[in-house]
């Protein structure tokens, strides 16, 4: 392997049949290997003989070729144009000539090429800000549309299939029972452990029941259910509606005169708003069970004692606060999921992005809403 040319598989040599002509002889196999044949040799040759006005080819010794040869010839042509030389393609195989013609047949469309220009920092900040303002308007418009759709429902004029609503209720409600039970039970266990460890130093371990009961009923039950729903159902809504956008299914509804807001978004929102409070109550019960389990097995509190303490401490208003929280989370998660799905772009990566933003914005909204609601309930003294 001393000969570099043989190592590469292709051979390139130059001859000058006339003082103003350069003949490029191509030999061997011109196939794609480690690297594409370079035109630097030709460049040197042209520098050496500035009198050259025309380039021609001899390919009689070439065994085979593919894109490697074509890219080489494209480079040669570019070099020739740069030096104002004529290129005679007559010596190339027919197929190669045809392909070169084909490649040059459709000239590059003016303005098609993207300039990868650097946007200055201030301009980028400005772009971001106006984009954010735009998306806030969009969200508000979506919420407005959803409210009008709800209005149509109340007047009995909303177009959607009851079976869709029932199916969505089943998917968001009963099919989530298992995961809600498991997580709530474990949250109850965690609350009880942390609480009991602290209360024990005051000899007030008994008050674990208060802590778990009020904690679950007022906020943890609703919050855990909300977060589970954001990850489970909000994501599913965004993915379903996003895929329907990609497949033009929503367009098909609109052209039939059916509002996709009524037909797709409304049943999903209703299902979540109805199911989240119910799941929240269910979650409260499992949280309390978790606390009970820990208290009985680890802290020697009797079952009856624990339940009695819970009944003393937890009032109906605590449950009501939790349920109101849950209903608000239902609205927020449904809006986040449906909004992301409806405004999804028409590609598979857009569906992924919509799903991610649905979950992230859902959880973010839940936390923000909790902060507001806690302050409001505090002021109201509930």
């Amino acid at each position: 392997m001393t000969d570099e040319a043989t190592d590469k598989g292709y051979q390139l040599s130059f001859a000058a049949p006339a003082p103003d002509q350069l003949q490029i002889s191509l030999a061997g196999s011109w196939r794609v290997q480690q690297s594409l044949p370079s035109a630097t040799q030709l460049e040197a040759e042209l520098k050496k003989h500035p009198a050259i006005r025309q380039i021609s080819f001899d390919s009689s010794a070439m065994t085979d070729w593919d894109s490697a040869l074509l890219t080489f010839l494209v480079r040669v042509t570019a070099l020739a144009t740069q030096n104002r030389l004529k290129v005679d393609q007559g010596g190339l195989p027919d197929g190669v000539q045809r392909l070169l013609q084909l490649a040059a047949a459709v000239p590059e469309r003016k303005g098609a090429r993207r300039e990868l220009s650097k946007v200055p920092l201030l301009a980028r900040i400005g772009n971001r800000a106006s984009a954010t303002a735009g998306s806030i308007t969009e969200i508000l418009a979506f919420v407005g549309d959803a409210t009008r759709s709800l209005g149509r429902l109340l007047r009995g004029k909303a177009q959607f299939r009851a079976s869709d609503l029932v199916l969505t209720i089943q998917q968001t409600g009963s099919q989530a029972l298992g995961i809600v039970a498991l997580i709530s039970f474990l949250v109850g266990v965690i609350l009880a452990y942390i609480g009991a460890a602290q209360l024990a130093s005051f000899g007030a371990t008994m008050y674990v029941a208060d802590l778990v009961g009020i904690g679950m009923a007022r906020s943890m039950g609703a919050m855990m259910t909300g977060i589970i729903m954001a990850g489970r159902t909000g994501a599913a809504f965004a993915a379903q509606l996003g895929t329907m956008q990609v497949n033009e299914e929503t367009d098909a509804l609109e052209t039939l005169g059916i509002s996709s807001m009524d037909f797709l978004v409304l049943p999903r929102m209703l299902a979540l708003i109805l199911m989240l409070p119910l799941l929240c109550i269910y979650s409260d019960l499992f949280g309390i069970l978790g606390g009970l389990f820990v208290s009985v097995t680890t802290f020697d509190i009797g079952i009856v004692e624990y339940l009695h303490r819970t009944r003393e401490a937890v009032e109906i208003r605590h449950f009501v606060v939790g349920i109101i929280n849950a209903a608000v989370y239902g609205v927020l998660v449904a809006i986040a999921g449906c909004y992301q799905g409806i405004k999804c772009g028409r590609s598979s990566s857009a569906v992924g992005a919509a799903t991610t933003s649905a979950v992230v914005s859902g959880i973010l909204l839940i936390v923000i809403a909790t902060a507001f609601l806690t302050v409001i309930f505090n002021v109201l003294g509930v």
């Binding site: 494209v74 197929g95 045809r98 459709v106 090429r113 028409r346 590609s347």
Partner: protein
Amino acid sequence: MSSASEAQPLQTGTIAEAHIQVKDLTMAYGSFVVQQDLTFTIRRGDIFIIMGDSGCGKSTLLRHMVGLKQPANGQVLYEGKDFWEADPVARKQFMRNFGMSYQGSALWSSMTLAENIALPLQEYTELSAADIREIAQLKLALVGLAGFEDYYPSEISGGMMKRAGLARAMALDPDILYFDEPSAGLDPISSRLLDDLILQLRDSLGATVVIVTHELASIFSIGNNSVFLDAEKKTMTAAGDPKQLRDESTDPKIHRFLTRGEA
């Protein structure tokens, strides 16, 4: 086998090399048989049309030939070597020589056109990023998309996506180009230009082309060999030059198909 022997034999004068052979192929989804007893030969340089009525299993046959679905029975041979009997490494080697253009273009939506073409090159060659970029530019120029390297599939029209899909199929200079419904969704002029392009590429690259289509204009203008699949009989009922089939076939169904039921 009886039905295969009923099929008309290939009647082209020159003895060309058999490039792809399908032997006694049975295609099935579970226990549902789509087609059976398919036996035909595709010669090197053929533009081979797989035709038949809707739902007869044309695309399924293509999927069996390119290695996306395993046959229930029978063989697919490339230059005499059994594709499905080969070990995975050898099978990958076979597949390196295929280029496939899908019905919905199937461009990867998260990548630009240049990146779409670059992926097979990165996977199978050791070229540098700059060289790969240059090949991608060349392939896009060949399909008339020079300058669109940095566009995403969602930013170009359906016809352009089809052509970009073809550019990706050609990335590795394959021996065999497969097309699933190349002209579906294209206007007559674009579809005619695509036919010309396929013909040009076949002539200059010397590739074998296999096309699933029921576009009669394309079938007659570029096809020189074909197989006809019958959805009811669940097997092939004819093979050969489509023009000859139109003029000479005695099977009323094939005749109706190739004349749009007008004759």
